[in-house]
């Protein structure tokens, strides 16, 4: 059982985690489940958290790992390049047709384009640009080197630009 101070600190990141979960699952009930599971694990394993390190990055890492473990299995995976990032023309994640009916509707072209990005690209953009995380923290969440993060951000933006261009035609 986590101590009350830890719980209070962790809950400060609830909205950010929920926002991240929404972009991962595209479905409010699933996002709530994902966040709740994240906190359950965080509180259960709070003794493993090293004080002084970034709690926010740790929580995002738990959330993403949980998502990948439980939710990614339901997604269809396409061929993956050697570095783990899909090629431009072979997206790792497609919009899931089965969940489309329950999915939250995108409000803007930008959001629609974000949804079409593979998870790795979507996540780096959300963490680095939306949440404003330093690259080192993003690297920790994604369990990859900082160089890989930079590369993914670059390629994600490139892909995003291409998608936005399509919408403007």
């Amino acid at each position: 059982m986590a101590d009350p101070e830890f719980q209070r600190d962790a809950l400060q990141h609830l909205n950010a985690l929920y926002n991240f979960a929404m972009y991962l699952t595209r479905n409010p009930p699933e996002a709530e489940d994902l966040v709740q599971e994240t906190y359950l694990r965080a509180f259960r394993f709070s003794h493993r958290f090293q004080p002084g390190t970034h709690l926010r990055a740790w929580l995002f890492q738990i959330l993403r790992n949980t998502f990948l473990t439980f939710y990614r299995l339901r997604e269809r995976e396409a061929a993956v390049a050697e570095d783990g990032v899909p090629d431009w023309d072979t997206p790792m994640f497609h919009d899931t047709p089965l969940d489309e009916g329950r999915a939250m509707e995108a409000h803007t072209d930008l959001e629609r384009a974000m949804r079409r990005l593979p998870e790795e690209f979507r996540t780096v953009l959300l963490l680095a640009e939306v949440e404003g995380m330093p690259l080192e923290e993003v690297a920790r969440v994604m369990a990859c080197p900082v160089g890989t993060v930079k590369s993914r951000i670059f390629r994600a933006k490139e892909r995003l630009r291409g998608l936005l261009k399509d919408y403007e035609k």
């Binding site: 059982m1 909205n15 709530e32 359950l40 409000h107 930008l110 974000m114 936005l164």
Partner: protein
């Protein structure tokens, strides 16, 4: 229509500014907090008073323990008397299971029970012999003989292997030259005595003072005329 951002920097700023942010519903925060509250704070309201009452009852029971009535195991004589009374009650209600007319049944009874009867009270002007049968009481084979007096009282004589049984001195009653013990149980009275290696019982429902005097007389009649012995 939004104009196309040119640079990575511009696109990053646009993401931070324009991408909708989703806020966690209040119910989610409540659910998380609720799920991680200590078990003690989630106890139902009635549990604490119930536990307190149970604890009080336990303490009271501990204090009262020395003065509570104790269930002590019956001594061997009482156990045997209870079994004999049960057998008598059964015969009273449903009659004998293996009704035999004495003396024709004597060899058969001895063979079945291991108790030989060298002489037997076969009834007189006061007691009519009804039947004799083998019985099995407290894992011992024995002989039962049933008599009925002129008033309709059933009187049952039972002989069992004594197996070191000691007739208690308490409740001994002097009748002629005998001193049987009188044991009352479940509304019946029983004379208990030993003859060598055989424990003997005479049971009836003659519990009133007048009946008891007559029951003494029946005891004397049966006692003087019956000689049981272990056959093997």
């Amino acid at each position: 229509m939004t104009p196309m951002p040119d640079s990575d920097e511009q696109l990053g700023r646009r993401l931070a500014a324009e991408l909708p942010r989703y806020t966690a519903p209040a119910s989610l925060r409540a659910a998380i907090v609720q799920a991680h509250q200590p078990a003690s704070s989630r106890r139902p309201a009635w549990l604490s008073p119930l536990l307190a009452a149970a604890a009080t009852a336990m303490v009271l029971a501990l204090f009262m323990l020395p003065v509570l009535p104790r269930l002590q195991p019956l001594d061997p004589v009482d156990q045997l008397v209870r079994a004999v009374v049960s057998e008598h009650s059964r015969a009273l209600m449903w009659g004998s299971r293996q009704s035999q007319v004495y003396p024709a049944a004597l060899p058969w009874l001895q063979q079945q029970t291991g108790i030989g009867l060298t002489s037997v009270f076969i009834g007189d002007d006061r007691l009519e012999f009804v039947s004799a049968e083998p019985v099995y009481l407290l894992r011992q084979r024995g002989v039962a003989m049933h008599y009925r007096d002129l008033d309709g009282h059933l009187v049952t004589y039972v002989a069992l292997p004594a197996d070191g049984l000691k007739v208690p001195d308490r409740n001994r009653v002097q009748i002629d030259r005998y001193r049987p013990a009188l044991v009352k149980d479940s509304g019946f009275v029983t004379w208990v005595w030993r003859q060598r290696d055989v424990a003997c019982f005479l049971v009836s429902d003659m519990v009133s003072v007048d009946d008891l005097e007559r029951f003494k007389d029946y005891f004397v009649r049966v006692r003087t005329s019956t000689e049981p012995a272990l056959a093997y």
